[in-house]
Protein backbone atom coordinates (compact mmCIF):
# COMPACT_ATOMS: atom_id res chain seq x y z
CA UNK A 1 0.00 0.00 0.00
CA UNK A 2 1.53 3.35 -1.06
CA UNK A 3 1.78 6.10 1.57
CA UNK A 4 -0.87 8.82 1.47
CA UNK A 5 -0.36 12.56 2.16
CA UNK A 6 -2.49 12.11 5.25
CA UNK A 7 -0.13 9.46 6.58
CA UNK A 8 2.82 11.77 5.99
CA UNK A 9 1.08 14.62 7.80
CA UNK A 10 0.15 12.33 10.64
CA UNK A 11 3.76 11.14 11.01
CA UNK A 12 5.05 14.73 10.91
CA UNK A 13 2.42 15.74 13.46
CA UNK A 14 3.50 13.02 15.87
CA UNK A 15 7.15 13.98 15.49
CA UNK A 16 6.53 17.71 15.94
CA UNK A 17 4.37 17.02 18.99
CA UNK A 18 7.09 14.87 20.50
CA UNK A 19 9.75 17.53 19.86
CA UNK A 20 7.60 20.35 21.21
CA UNK A 21 6.87 18.29 24.29
CA UNK A 22 10.56 17.53 24.81
CA UNK A 23 12.16 20.86 23.90
CA UNK A 24 9.51 23.34 25.09
CA UNK A 25 7.26 21.93 27.78
CA UNK A 26 9.51 19.31 29.37
CA UNK A 27 12.53 21.60 29.17
CA UNK A 28 10.84 24.17 31.41
CA UNK A 29 9.54 21.52 33.78
CA UNK A 30 12.92 19.83 33.96
CA UNK A 31 14.75 23.08 34.69
CA UNK A 32 12.27 24.01 37.45
CA UNK A 33 12.54 20.55 39.02
CA UNK A 34 16.31 20.48 38.64
CA UNK A 35 16.64 23.88 40.32
CA UNK A 36 14.48 22.70 43.21
CA UNK A 37 16.47 19.47 43.53
CA UNK A 38 19.83 21.24 43.26
CA UNK A 39 18.99 23.44 46.23
CA UNK A 40 18.51 20.31 48.36
CA UNK A 41 21.79 18.68 47.31
CA UNK A 42 25.00 19.13 49.36
CA UNK A 43 26.81 19.80 46.06
CA UNK A 44 25.25 23.27 46.10
CA UNK A 45 27.63 24.21 48.92
CA UNK A 46 30.58 23.67 46.58
CA UNK A 47 29.17 24.70 43.21
CA UNK A 48 26.68 27.37 42.10
CA UNK A 49 23.13 26.03 42.35
CA UNK A 50 22.46 27.01 38.75
CA UNK A 51 25.35 24.83 37.54
CA UNK A 52 24.22 21.82 39.60
CA UNK A 53 20.69 22.31 38.26
CA UNK A 54 22.03 22.35 34.70
CA UNK A 55 23.78 19.02 35.22
CA UNK A 56 20.62 17.47 36.66
CA UNK A 57 18.71 18.78 33.68
CA UNK A 58 21.02 16.86 31.32
CA UNK A 59 20.01 13.53 32.83
CA UNK A 60 16.39 14.69 33.12
CA UNK A 61 16.26 15.59 29.43
CA UNK A 62 17.55 12.11 28.56
CA UNK A 63 14.87 10.46 30.68
CA UNK A 64 12.01 12.51 29.28
CA UNK A 65 13.21 11.94 25.70
CA UNK A 66 13.27 8.22 26.41
CA UNK A 67 9.73 8.38 27.78
CA UNK A 68 8.40 10.47 24.91
CA UNK A 69 10.04 8.24 22.29
CA UNK A 70 8.55 5.17 23.95
CA UNK A 71 5.06 6.71 24.22
CA UNK A 72 4.96 7.94 20.60
CA UNK A 73 6.36 4.64 19.31
CA UNK A 74 3.73 2.74 21.29
CA UNK A 75 0.98 4.99 19.96
CA UNK A 76 2.15 4.27 16.40
CA UNK A 77 2.39 0.53 16.96
CA UNK A 78 6.23 0.50 16.93
CA UNK A 79 8.37 -1.42 19.36
CA UNK A 80 11.10 0.79 20.85
CA UNK A 81 12.92 -2.12 22.47
CA UNK A 82 13.57 -3.73 19.09
CA UNK A 83 15.86 -0.81 18.25
CA UNK A 84 18.28 -2.12 20.88
CA UNK A 85 18.01 -5.83 20.36
CA UNK A 86 17.41 -6.51 16.67
CA UNK A 87 20.01 -6.34 13.88
CA UNK A 88 22.83 -5.89 16.37
CA UNK A 89 26.26 -7.19 15.38
CA UNK A 90 29.16 -6.85 17.82
CA UNK A 91 31.44 -5.45 15.09
CA UNK A 92 29.06 -2.51 14.64
CA UNK A 93 30.16 -1.10 17.98
CA UNK A 94 33.86 -0.48 17.09
CA UNK A 95 32.69 0.82 13.71
CA UNK A 96 30.47 3.19 15.71
CA UNK A 97 33.61 4.63 17.31
CA UNK A 98 35.22 5.13 13.89
CA UNK A 99 32.02 6.72 12.67
CA UNK A 100 31.98 9.13 15.62
CA UNK A 101 35.58 10.15 14.97
CA UNK A 102 34.79 10.75 11.30
CA UNK A 103 31.68 12.77 12.13
CA UNK A 104 33.66 14.84 14.62
CA UNK A 105 36.44 15.63 12.14
CA UNK A 106 34.07 16.66 9.34
CA UNK A 107 31.87 18.68 11.67
CA UNK A 108 34.91 20.54 12.99
CA UNK A 109 35.89 21.37 9.43
CA UNK A 110 32.37 22.60 8.64
CA UNK A 111 32.19 24.57 11.91
CA UNK A 112 35.45 26.35 11.16
CA UNK A 113 34.22 27.10 7.66
CA UNK A 114 30.84 28.39 8.88
CA UNK A 115 32.49 30.63 11.47
CA UNK A 116 34.91 32.01 8.90
CA UNK A 117 32.11 32.66 6.40
CA UNK A 118 29.67 34.29 8.83
CA UNK A 119 32.23 36.17 10.93
CA UNK A 120 32.26 39.37 8.85
CA UNK A 121 28.46 39.48 8.96
CA UNK A 122 28.46 38.99 12.72
CA UNK A 123 31.19 41.61 13.12
CA UNK A 124 28.94 44.12 11.38
CA UNK A 125 26.17 43.20 13.83
CA UNK A 126 28.03 43.38 17.14
CA UNK A 127 31.35 45.04 16.34
CA UNK A 128 34.33 44.40 18.65
CA UNK A 129 32.23 42.19 20.94
CA UNK A 130 32.80 39.48 18.37
CA UNK A 131 36.03 38.43 20.06
CA UNK A 132 34.14 37.79 23.32
CA UNK A 133 31.58 35.77 21.44
CA UNK A 134 34.31 33.75 19.74
CA UNK A 135 35.74 32.96 23.16
CA UNK A 136 32.45 31.58 24.41
CA UNK A 137 31.83 29.38 21.39
CA UNK A 138 31.71 25.77 22.49
CA UNK A 139 31.29 26.91 26.10
CA UNK A 140 27.79 28.35 26.23
CA UNK A 141 24.17 27.17 26.17
CA UNK A 142 23.53 23.46 26.43
CA UNK A 143 27.22 22.76 25.77
CA UNK A 144 27.93 24.39 29.13
CA UNK A 145 25.54 21.95 30.79
CA UNK A 146 27.53 19.01 29.40
CA UNK A 147 30.82 20.59 30.52
CA UNK A 148 29.48 21.18 34.01
CA UNK A 149 28.16 17.62 34.20
CA UNK A 150 31.67 16.27 33.69
CA UNK A 151 33.20 18.77 36.10
CA UNK A 152 30.73 18.46 38.96
CA UNK A 153 29.77 14.79 39.05
CA UNK A 154 32.05 11.74 39.39
CA UNK A 155 33.16 10.55 35.94
CA UNK A 156 30.88 7.44 35.69
CA UNK A 157 27.81 9.42 36.72
CA UNK A 158 28.69 12.33 34.45
CA UNK A 159 29.26 10.11 31.43
CA UNK A 160 26.10 8.12 32.18
CA UNK A 161 24.07 11.34 32.22
CA UNK A 162 25.56 12.48 28.93
CA UNK A 163 25.07 9.05 27.35
CA UNK A 164 21.44 9.12 28.45
CA UNK A 165 20.87 12.56 26.98
CA UNK A 166 22.49 11.53 23.67
CA UNK A 167 20.47 8.32 23.62
CA UNK A 168 17.36 10.45 24.00
CA UNK A 169 18.37 12.50 20.94
CA UNK A 170 19.10 9.38 18.89
CA UNK A 171 15.75 7.86 19.84
CA UNK A 172 13.81 11.03 19.03
CA UNK A 173 15.47 11.88 15.73
CA UNK A 174 16.40 8.46 14.38
CA UNK A 175 14.35 5.93 16.32
CA UNK A 176 11.20 8.01 16.03
CA UNK A 177 11.50 10.60 13.24
CA UNK A 178 13.29 8.45 10.67
CA UNK A 179 11.21 5.38 11.45
CA UNK A 180 7.88 7.20 11.24
CA UNK A 181 8.86 9.08 8.07
CA UNK A 182 10.49 6.11 6.35
CA UNK A 183 7.27 4.99 4.59
CA UNK A 184 7.20 8.41 2.84
CA UNK A 185 10.54 7.64 1.22
CA UNK A 186 14.17 7.64 2.24
CA UNK A 187 15.07 11.17 0.96
CA UNK A 188 12.12 12.76 2.77
CA UNK A 189 12.88 10.92 6.03
CA UNK A 190 16.54 11.92 5.80
CA UNK A 191 15.94 15.59 4.99
CA UNK A 192 13.08 16.11 7.45
CA UNK A 193 14.81 14.40 10.39
CA UNK A 194 18.07 16.27 9.69
CA UNK A 195 16.26 19.61 9.42
CA UNK A 196 14.55 19.07 12.77
CA UNK A 197 17.78 17.85 14.37
CA UNK A 198 19.70 20.94 13.15
CA UNK A 199 16.89 23.28 14.23
CA UNK A 200 16.80 22.10 17.86
CA UNK A 201 20.54 22.67 18.28
CA UNK A 202 19.96 26.42 18.35
CA UNK A 203 17.66 26.28 21.37
CA UNK A 204 19.29 27.49 24.57
CA UNK A 205 22.25 29.04 22.74
CA UNK A 206 23.09 32.71 23.39
CA UNK A 207 23.08 33.63 19.67
CA UNK A 208 22.74 32.15 16.20
CA UNK A 209 26.47 32.65 15.70
CA UNK A 210 27.44 30.61 18.75
CA UNK A 211 24.98 27.91 17.69
CA UNK A 212 26.77 27.46 14.34
CA UNK A 213 29.21 24.73 15.48
CA UNK A 214 26.43 22.69 17.07
CA UNK A 215 24.28 23.09 13.97
CA UNK A 216 27.18 22.02 11.75
CA UNK A 217 27.66 18.96 13.95
CA UNK A 218 23.97 18.13 13.56
CA UNK A 219 24.25 18.68 9.82
CA UNK A 220 26.87 15.93 9.69
CA UNK A 221 25.40 13.53 12.27
CA UNK A 222 21.79 13.92 11.06
CA UNK A 223 22.00 12.55 7.51
CA UNK A 224 24.75 10.02 8.21
CA UNK A 225 22.99 8.47 11.21
CA UNK A 226 19.66 8.55 9.39
CA UNK A 227 21.23 6.77 6.40
CA UNK A 228 22.78 4.12 8.64
CA UNK A 229 19.59 3.72 10.65
CA UNK A 230 17.67 3.05 7.44
CA UNK A 231 20.25 0.41 6.54
CA UNK A 232 20.53 -1.28 9.94
CA UNK A 233 17.74 -0.23 12.33
CA UNK A 234 19.68 -0.51 15.56
CA UNK A 235 20.30 2.51 17.73
CA UNK A 236 23.35 1.32 19.70
CA UNK A 237 26.08 1.87 17.05
CA UNK A 238 24.64 5.34 16.42
CA UNK A 239 24.64 6.09 20.15
CA UNK A 240 28.29 5.03 20.35
CA UNK A 241 29.10 7.22 17.33
CA UNK A 242 27.30 10.18 18.95
CA UNK A 243 29.13 9.64 22.24
CA UNK A 244 32.50 9.37 20.47
CA UNK A 245 31.67 12.55 18.59
CA UNK A 246 31.20 14.33 21.92
CA UNK A 247 34.32 12.82 23.48
CA UNK A 248 36.52 14.12 20.70
CA UNK A 249 35.39 17.72 21.05
CA UNK A 250 37.37 20.34 22.85
CA UNK A 251 34.59 21.32 25.22
CA UNK A 252 34.85 17.81 26.61
CA UNK A 253 38.63 17.63 26.48
CA UNK A 254 39.25 21.00 28.16
CA UNK A 255 37.56 20.33 31.52
CA UNK A 256 39.20 16.90 31.68
CA UNK A 257 42.56 18.56 31.08
CA UNK A 258 41.83 21.13 33.77
CA UNK A 259 40.89 18.45 36.28
Amino acid sequence: MSPTPLAALSALGWILAALLLQYVLCRRLIMATARHLAEQLPLSFHYPTRDVALTLAVAGAGLTALGIAWAVSWANGENLLSLFTEHLLPLQLPIGILLGLGEASVSMLLSSLALAVFRPWRQRQIGPDLINELRTIGRAGWVRAYRQTLQIWPAPLGWASIALALLGEELLFRGLAVRLLAPEGFPFALVASTFLFVAVQAQGMPSWFSALPAMCGALVIGPINAWLFMTVPNILPLEIAHLTFFCSHDFIISPLRCS
Binding site: H87, S112, I131, T231, S248, I253
Partner: protein, 268 residues
Protein backbone atom coordinates in the same frame (compact mmCIF):
# COMPACT_ATOMS: atom_id res chain seq x y z
CA UNK B 1 33.63 -4.15 -1.61
CA UNK B 2 35.88 -7.20 -1.87
CA UNK B 3 37.58 -6.88 1.49
CA UNK B 4 37.64 -8.72 4.75
CA UNK B 5 34.16 -7.59 5.79
CA UNK B 6 31.81 -10.10 4.22
CA UNK B 7 28.82 -9.02 6.35
CA UNK B 8 26.55 -6.74 4.25
CA UNK B 9 25.10 -5.02 7.35
CA UNK B 10 28.53 -3.71 8.24
CA UNK B 11 29.49 -2.47 4.79
CA UNK B 12 27.42 0.71 4.90
CA UNK B 13 28.58 1.66 8.40
CA UNK B 14 32.19 1.04 7.49
CA UNK B 15 31.87 2.91 4.21
CA UNK B 16 30.28 5.90 5.97
CA UNK B 17 32.99 5.92 8.64
CA UNK B 18 35.79 5.70 6.09
CA UNK B 19 34.27 8.41 3.89
CA UNK B 20 34.05 10.79 6.85
CA UNK B 21 37.54 9.96 8.07
CA UNK B 22 39.01 10.51 4.60
CA UNK B 23 37.26 13.87 4.27
CA UNK B 24 39.13 15.59 7.06
CA UNK B 25 41.96 13.58 8.63
CA UNK B 26 43.82 16.74 9.60
CA UNK B 27 41.12 17.66 12.13
CA UNK B 28 41.43 14.20 13.63
CA UNK B 29 45.19 14.70 13.98
CA UNK B 30 44.66 18.06 15.68
CA UNK B 31 42.21 16.50 18.14
CA UNK B 32 44.65 13.69 18.85
CA UNK B 33 47.38 16.26 19.51
CA UNK B 34 45.09 18.04 21.97
CA UNK B 35 44.18 14.76 23.69
CA UNK B 36 47.81 13.69 24.00
CA UNK B 37 49.04 17.11 25.04
CA UNK B 38 48.74 16.54 28.84
CA UNK B 39 50.76 13.32 28.51
CA UNK B 40 53.22 14.17 25.78
CA UNK B 41 53.58 17.03 23.35
CA UNK B 42 53.37 15.63 19.83
CA UNK B 43 53.51 17.72 16.67
CA UNK B 44 50.17 17.59 14.82
CA UNK B 45 52.08 16.92 11.61
CA UNK B 46 53.49 13.66 13.00
CA UNK B 47 50.00 12.66 14.04
CA UNK B 48 48.67 13.66 10.64
CA UNK B 49 51.13 11.24 9.02
CA UNK B 50 50.07 8.53 11.48
CA UNK B 51 46.35 9.17 10.83
CA UNK B 52 46.83 9.17 7.05
CA UNK B 53 48.92 6.01 7.28
CA UNK B 54 46.27 4.28 9.39
CA UNK B 55 43.52 5.35 7.01
CA UNK B 56 45.37 4.05 3.97
CA UNK B 57 46.24 0.87 5.87
CA UNK B 58 42.56 0.51 6.77
CA UNK B 59 41.60 0.88 3.11
CA UNK B 60 44.07 -1.80 2.10
CA UNK B 61 43.11 -4.28 4.80
CA UNK B 62 39.40 -3.73 5.33
CA UNK B 63 38.03 -2.69 2.00
CA UNK B 64 40.24 -3.57 -0.91
CA UNK B 65 43.35 -5.70 -0.51
CA UNK B 66 44.25 -5.14 -4.17
CA UNK B 67 44.30 -1.35 -3.94
CA UNK B 68 48.09 -1.28 -3.77
CA UNK B 69 48.38 -3.16 -7.07
CA UNK B 70 46.29 -0.57 -8.89
CA UNK B 71 47.76 2.44 -7.16
CA UNK B 72 51.43 1.77 -7.71
CA UNK B 73 52.16 0.48 -11.22
CA UNK B 74 55.74 0.42 -12.42
CA UNK B 75 55.99 3.58 -14.46
CA UNK B 76 59.39 5.16 -15.02
CA UNK B 77 57.78 8.00 -16.91
CA UNK B 78 55.50 8.75 -13.96
CA UNK B 79 58.53 9.76 -11.88
CA UNK B 80 59.61 12.34 -14.46
CA UNK B 81 56.04 13.59 -14.90
CA UNK B 82 55.72 13.82 -11.14
CA UNK B 83 58.91 15.87 -10.75
CA UNK B 84 57.80 18.23 -13.51
CA UNK B 85 54.32 18.41 -11.96
CA UNK B 86 55.78 19.35 -8.57
CA UNK B 87 57.82 22.17 -10.07
CA UNK B 88 54.85 23.35 -12.12
CA UNK B 89 52.60 23.19 -9.05
CA UNK B 90 54.99 25.27 -6.98
CA UNK B 91 55.33 27.86 -9.74
CA UNK B 92 51.55 27.95 -10.21
CA UNK B 93 51.01 28.37 -6.47
CA UNK B 94 53.50 31.25 -6.29
CA UNK B 95 51.99 33.02 -9.28
CA UNK B 96 48.38 32.66 -8.11
CA UNK B 97 49.24 33.66 -4.53
CA UNK B 98 51.07 36.77 -5.75
CA UNK B 99 48.19 37.70 -8.04
CA UNK B 100 45.66 37.23 -5.25
CA UNK B 101 47.78 39.27 -2.83
CA UNK B 102 47.90 42.09 -5.32
CA UNK B 103 44.20 41.87 -5.97
CA UNK B 104 43.31 42.05 -2.29
CA UNK B 105 44.88 44.03 0.52
CA UNK B 106 43.60 41.52 3.04
CA UNK B 107 46.33 39.49 4.71
CA UNK B 108 46.08 35.74 5.18
CA UNK B 109 45.28 36.11 8.90
CA UNK B 110 41.55 36.76 9.21
CA UNK B 111 41.59 38.15 12.77
CA UNK B 112 44.56 40.42 12.17
CA UNK B 113 42.87 43.45 13.73
CA UNK B 114 42.66 41.80 17.12
CA UNK B 115 45.44 42.82 19.53
CA UNK B 116 48.11 40.21 20.27
CA UNK B 117 48.10 38.61 23.71
CA UNK B 118 50.22 35.50 23.47
CA UNK B 119 53.33 37.59 22.93
CA UNK B 120 56.09 37.31 20.37
CA UNK B 121 57.39 33.93 21.56
CA UNK B 122 54.46 31.89 22.89
CA UNK B 123 54.78 28.48 24.46
CA UNK B 124 53.32 25.41 22.85
CA UNK B 125 50.72 25.19 25.61
CA UNK B 126 49.65 28.78 25.00
CA UNK B 127 49.20 28.06 21.32
CA UNK B 128 47.20 24.91 22.02
CA UNK B 129 45.08 26.65 24.65
CA UNK B 130 43.32 28.62 21.93
CA UNK B 131 39.81 27.47 21.24
CA UNK B 132 40.30 25.08 18.29
CA UNK B 133 37.66 26.90 16.30
CA UNK B 134 39.48 30.19 16.82
CA UNK B 135 42.77 28.46 16.23
CA UNK B 136 41.51 27.06 12.95
CA UNK B 137 40.26 30.54 12.24
CA UNK B 138 43.41 32.43 12.90
CA UNK B 139 46.56 30.59 13.76
CA UNK B 140 47.09 27.76 11.30
CA UNK B 141 49.69 29.47 9.20
CA UNK B 142 51.34 31.11 12.22
CA UNK B 143 51.65 27.84 14.12
CA UNK B 144 53.03 26.13 11.04
CA UNK B 145 55.60 28.84 10.56
CA UNK B 146 56.58 28.70 14.23
CA UNK B 147 57.01 24.94 14.11
CA UNK B 148 59.05 25.28 10.96
CA UNK B 149 61.41 27.79 12.53
CA UNK B 150 61.75 25.51 15.55
CA UNK B 151 62.82 22.74 13.18
CA UNK B 152 59.87 20.53 14.10
CA UNK B 153 58.98 19.74 10.51
CA UNK B 154 61.59 17.35 9.14
CA UNK B 155 61.87 17.43 5.33
CA UNK B 156 61.13 13.68 4.96
CA UNK B 157 57.99 14.18 7.05
CA UNK B 158 56.80 17.05 4.89
CA UNK B 159 57.42 14.98 1.74
CA UNK B 160 55.67 11.97 3.31
CA UNK B 161 52.60 14.10 4.04
CA UNK B 162 52.40 15.02 0.35
CA UNK B 163 52.67 11.42 -0.77
CA UNK B 164 50.12 10.15 1.74
CA UNK B 165 47.71 12.99 0.97
CA UNK B 166 47.80 12.04 -2.69
CA UNK B 167 46.98 8.41 -1.92
CA UNK B 168 44.17 9.51 0.40
CA UNK B 169 42.67 12.37 -1.61
CA UNK B 170 43.39 11.38 -5.19
CA UNK B 171 42.89 7.64 -4.90
CA UNK B 172 41.25 6.20 -1.80
CA UNK B 173 38.68 8.94 -1.16
CA UNK B 174 37.39 9.21 -4.78
CA UNK B 175 37.38 5.43 -4.94
CA UNK B 176 35.25 5.22 -1.78
CA UNK B 177 32.97 7.96 -3.11
CA UNK B 178 32.40 5.75 -6.16
CA UNK B 179 30.31 3.44 -3.95
CA UNK B 180 27.81 6.17 -3.08
CA UNK B 181 27.81 8.27 -6.26
CA UNK B 182 25.20 7.38 -8.85
CA UNK B 183 27.68 7.57 -11.75
CA UNK B 184 30.14 4.90 -12.84
CA UNK B 185 33.32 4.86 -14.96
CA UNK B 186 34.86 8.22 -15.92
CA UNK B 187 32.00 10.56 -14.81
CA UNK B 188 31.98 8.85 -11.41
CA UNK B 189 35.76 9.11 -11.09
CA UNK B 190 35.73 12.78 -12.14
CA UNK B 191 32.94 13.59 -9.70
CA UNK B 192 34.74 11.71 -6.92
CA UNK B 193 37.97 13.56 -7.66
CA UNK B 194 36.16 16.92 -7.58
CA UNK B 195 34.48 16.21 -4.25
CA UNK B 196 37.72 14.92 -2.75
CA UNK B 197 39.51 17.98 -4.10
CA UNK B 198 36.94 20.25 -2.49
CA UNK B 199 37.69 18.72 0.90
CA UNK B 200 41.40 18.87 0.15
CA UNK B 201 41.06 22.61 -0.38
CA UNK B 202 38.89 23.06 2.72
CA UNK B 203 41.34 21.36 5.08
CA UNK B 204 43.65 24.33 4.38
CA UNK B 205 41.07 26.68 5.90
CA UNK B 206 43.37 27.55 8.79
CA UNK B 207 45.82 29.10 6.32
CA UNK B 208 43.20 31.53 5.03
CA UNK B 209 40.67 31.62 2.22
CA UNK B 210 43.37 32.34 -0.35
CA UNK B 211 45.14 29.09 0.48
CA UNK B 212 41.89 27.13 0.12
CA UNK B 213 41.69 28.41 -3.44
CA UNK B 214 45.36 27.83 -4.29
CA UNK B 215 45.33 24.30 -2.82
CA UNK B 216 42.12 23.57 -4.68
CA UNK B 217 43.84 24.62 -7.90
CA UNK B 218 46.86 22.53 -6.98
CA UNK B 219 44.55 19.58 -6.31
CA UNK B 220 43.15 19.94 -9.82
CA UNK B 221 46.68 19.73 -11.23
CA UNK B 222 47.41 16.60 -9.20
CA UNK B 223 44.05 15.10 -10.20
CA UNK B 224 44.96 15.75 -13.85
CA UNK B 225 48.24 13.90 -13.27
CA UNK B 226 46.32 10.94 -11.86
CA UNK B 227 43.93 10.90 -14.81
CA UNK B 228 46.72 11.26 -17.39
CA UNK B 229 49.12 8.70 -15.92
CA UNK B 230 46.47 6.31 -14.64
CA UNK B 231 48.16 5.98 -11.28
CA UNK B 232 48.77 7.98 -8.15
CA UNK B 233 52.56 7.70 -8.43
CA UNK B 234 53.16 10.84 -10.51
CA UNK B 235 50.84 12.93 -8.35
CA UNK B 236 52.49 11.63 -5.17
CA UNK B 237 55.94 12.60 -6.39
CA UNK B 238 54.62 15.97 -7.53
CA UNK B 239 52.96 16.65 -4.17
CA UNK B 240 56.01 15.52 -2.19
CA UNK B 241 58.25 17.81 -4.25
CA UNK B 242 55.78 20.67 -3.93
CA UNK B 243 55.69 20.33 -0.14
CA UNK B 244 59.49 20.31 0.03
CA UNK B 245 59.75 23.43 -2.16
CA UNK B 246 56.99 25.16 -0.16
CA UNK B 247 58.78 24.34 3.10
CA UNK B 248 62.03 25.78 1.75
CA UNK B 249 60.18 28.94 0.73
CA UNK B 250 58.59 29.23 4.17
CA UNK B 251 61.95 28.75 5.88
CA UNK B 252 63.34 31.55 3.72
CA UNK B 253 60.75 33.85 5.29
CA UNK B 254 61.63 32.84 8.86
CA UNK B 255 63.04 36.24 9.71
CA UNK B 256 59.62 37.82 9.41
CA UNK B 257 58.11 38.77 12.80
CA UNK B 258 55.44 36.46 14.19
CA UNK B 259 52.31 37.92 15.77
CA UNK B 260 49.92 35.71 17.68
CA UNK B 261 46.26 36.33 18.10
CA UNK B 262 44.64 37.16 21.42
CA UNK B 263 43.21 34.23 23.35
CA UNK B 264 40.80 34.28 26.26
CA UNK B 265 42.38 35.97 29.32
CA UNK B 266 41.64 33.35 31.94
CA UNK B 267 39.32 30.57 33.03
CA UNK B 268 35.67 30.24 32.34
Amino acid sequence: MNGLIPIPELETSLLAALLLLHASPVMLANRLAALLEPIRRVSPLWLYVVVLGMLIGGDLVLISPDLHRIAWPTQALAVIVGLLGGELGFWLDQVVTTLLRKASRDTSRPLRRLPPILGPSPSWGAVLSLNPLQAADATGSTVTRTLLTRGEFLPPLVVAVGILEEIAYRWAFPWLLGFVLPWRELPGLLCGLMIANLFYGLIHLSFGSRTIFTRWLLGLLFAALVLMSGSVLAASIAHGLFNWLAMKATLAERRRPITFVRSHPGGF
